[in-house]
Symmetry: C3
Subunit: 308 residues, 3 copies
């Protein structure tokens, strides 16, 4: 059995068995809730702290729900954007929180690598869970995306997945690729306009496309990334309508994918920019299933790092 995780900062280098254990545990959480269990007492008396240096109501709420469903207490440590954002001051904050005997810190920070720095500087037994750092990793998103796909397409040896949008700056794309590669996906395709295309060396096992029609052809799942509007200028596309025309997911394009192709997006969606409303709300959309799985995956991760 792969060893229990103390922290979760990235999916990179995680063994397949660990990822599968987390997904299996998330399924077990889902089953328990489906059968009417509203509270599991697995983490009663434990305290989890949300340390968000970037605002994210959705992800913070998902973690908060996950922790409470396991019986843990949750503290939201609200930091002004100006304060305690880096360097020594951040580590002093970490040590202060450790001294208060918190069990886990869920951290989001715009600087890549911050969660690993917290792990390196931690002095006590606190667990660090990455809720998104810079462009680098968003491991619970990678897990929930893999879980959503596995629920519909369990045979990963046959699986072709297309990830489209601002791949270059996307921690979601990186964590998705790590999860899907570890689970043995047949082919992962990345599609982006030139200014948002990452280096091939960053994604050695992926196929890179700049033409979305080609990238989606025959795909079993397509994961649309959120476009940060301030990055429009990097796309060489004059406006949002042009972006949508070239890199948006609409019905015509979805028809090029494999039959029943799963439509996914980490949210919140920009309707008419990355994705047409009728596709986002259509029969093939798994966007809300992703949200539901997010809570179960976070329950699994919290139980992994804090459970007995």
């Amino acid at each position: 059995m792969s060893p229990r995780l103390r922290h979760l900062t990235s999916l990179e280098h995680l063994p397949r068995a660990t990822i599968e254990r987390l997904l299996d545990r998330a399924e077990a959480m889902r089953d328990a809730c489906a059968h009417g269990t509203r509270k599991l007492d697995l983490l009663t008396g434990r305290t989890v702290l949300n340390l968000f240096f970037e605002p994210s109501t959705r992800t913070r709420t998902s973690f908060e729900l996950a922790a409470r469903r396991l019986g843990a207490d949750v503290i939201n440590f609200d930091l002004g954007l100006s304060s305690t954002s880096k360097g020594e001051a951040m580590f002093d904050t970490l040590h202060t929180l450790e001294a208060m005997h918190l069990d886990a810190i869920i951290v989001r920070h715009k600087v890549s690598g911050t969660p690993d720095e917290l792990v390196r500087h931690a002095m006590s037994g606190v667990s660090v869970i990455n809720a998104g750092d810079g462009n680098r990793a968003h491991p619970t998103q990678g897990l929930l995306d893999a879980l959503t796909i596995r629920q519909h397409r369990p045979d990963f040896h046959q699986l072709v997945v297309t990830i489209c949008g601002d791949v270059k700056h996307s921690r979601v794309a990186r964590s998705d690729v790590h999860a899907l590669s570890a689970l043995g996906a047949k082919e992962i395709r990345l599609c982006a306009p030139s200014g948002l295309m990452p280096a091939q060396t960053d994604f050695p096992h992926c196929r890179l496309f700049d033409n979305f029609d080609s990238a989606i052809e025959g795909a079993d799942a397509v994961i649309m990334l959120r476009l940060q509007k301030e990055r429009m200028t990097a796309t060489d596309l004059p406006d949002e309508a042009a972006y949508f025309q070239h890199y948006g997911l609409d019905k015509r394009r979805l028809a090029l994918a494999a039959k029943g192709c799963l439509v996914m997006h980490p949210g919140p969606i920009n309707r008419g920019i990355e994705i047409a409303s009728d596709v986002a709300d259509g029969a093939q959309s798994r966007i809300l299933e992703q949200v539901g799985n997010g809570v179960f995956v976070r329950m699994a991760v919290l139980n992994e790092v804090l459970g007995r």
Copy 2:
């Protein structure tokens, strides 16, 4: 028996039996707490989310206390004022929250009708409770005002109530009128300066006054509304002192009402603008009883929509 409510967005069209059931349940909650019960386990394992697009610490805290006293978990979903405030984006937020398996959403929004829009767009079994929408409704305030009056003047067939202030923009006035009418109040009088006077057609069963001395004469209860200071200009009164002189409640004016007339205000009060300090703090003031009843009414409403 009137059917159990799934949502509470307005008191309009609610049958008298439903309103009476909610008030009776609130009284039962009050009795339990008076006898030392600190936690009722009626909603253990349920999760309630506060979705406030307008700030309101008092009402949010009252709902949070009510939910916790019933054993529910409470999540505060803090939205920046700029984000997710309307249209598709708001419904996407709703669906995201539903996908996380929340049991109830308590919503406050400056746009009238938002809670009903959420009900129409809800896809799962989530309950929506209106904590105030625009000028339209504040149903738990209407219930707590009715409960406070009923505790002192149970015979509504004899009841004369005067509501004074910015009636035109007041969701409190609307919900009060709905509750008191349904419970059979003898007479409801509305009093406002001309610029803040609603159309008679909006309040067909009420008597409209622009002279507060006439409006308060013989009243059993007087509900003073909070003046938004930015609406002073609509009153044709040159300043706050003049407003108070014409539409403020002081001792002289209170003496025109029926003996023991109940003095009420939804809070927070503007002393010396709507109400004189000695009246707000005087023996006839029920303002703090209203606050206490607010928690019990919200417990009753949460139990109505979420209880088994």
Copy 3:
């Protein structure tokens, strides 16, 4: 036995027996947690409200953790800095909160004396705990500092303590002096640059120094205060480097103190201004023990005012 406290607004005038009871109770809380107890059910069903008019994530979080470890519910009442900050409006807020049947209010306010004003205006059985008011008092900080010292230097008759920095504006210094004096400390020395030196009459039993080398000589514990950078101009020292040279704690200066002198700071520290990093992180530093003791002291205080 000294009578049970209903409120804790200051340590001034508290009998030694009461302070010792609180420290003993804090030790008992620490022992219970060290033996694996994660939740004490001493305050189940009680509700504690954080009413912070000044931001302080650390102290708020410490109180929140303390309350939850005792089984209480915690409400964070977030006030905009502009609203409800003084006078009648603040008492109206107090009465509103009392009417909601809260059990304790933890208050921080920039105006000295605010917690006592709340006690005077309270109408019900609510307990008020001061989390810091102006320059006046921060009683739980005084207790946690005394506890930290007692754990290492239990014989207060031999104890020499030096408090250095912006003594004039420091509520921490005032509460430390009250606690240490009550417990019989042999000598308390205050050290500050001239512009930050309090009047001798404010600290009649302390020795005042403007030379830190003299003040620290032979001290058993040194408590460094946080410098508010906007007060630099009052120091007659041209810049932070000069402040550190005259009033910062570095290794050379620490060597003048008694062997094993305890290094303390209420946090958050300004490295290189009040204290050198190698001293803050060194073997004699008790700064993180102070943080840990802070939670236990606050558990003891909450149990004192709310327990049965």
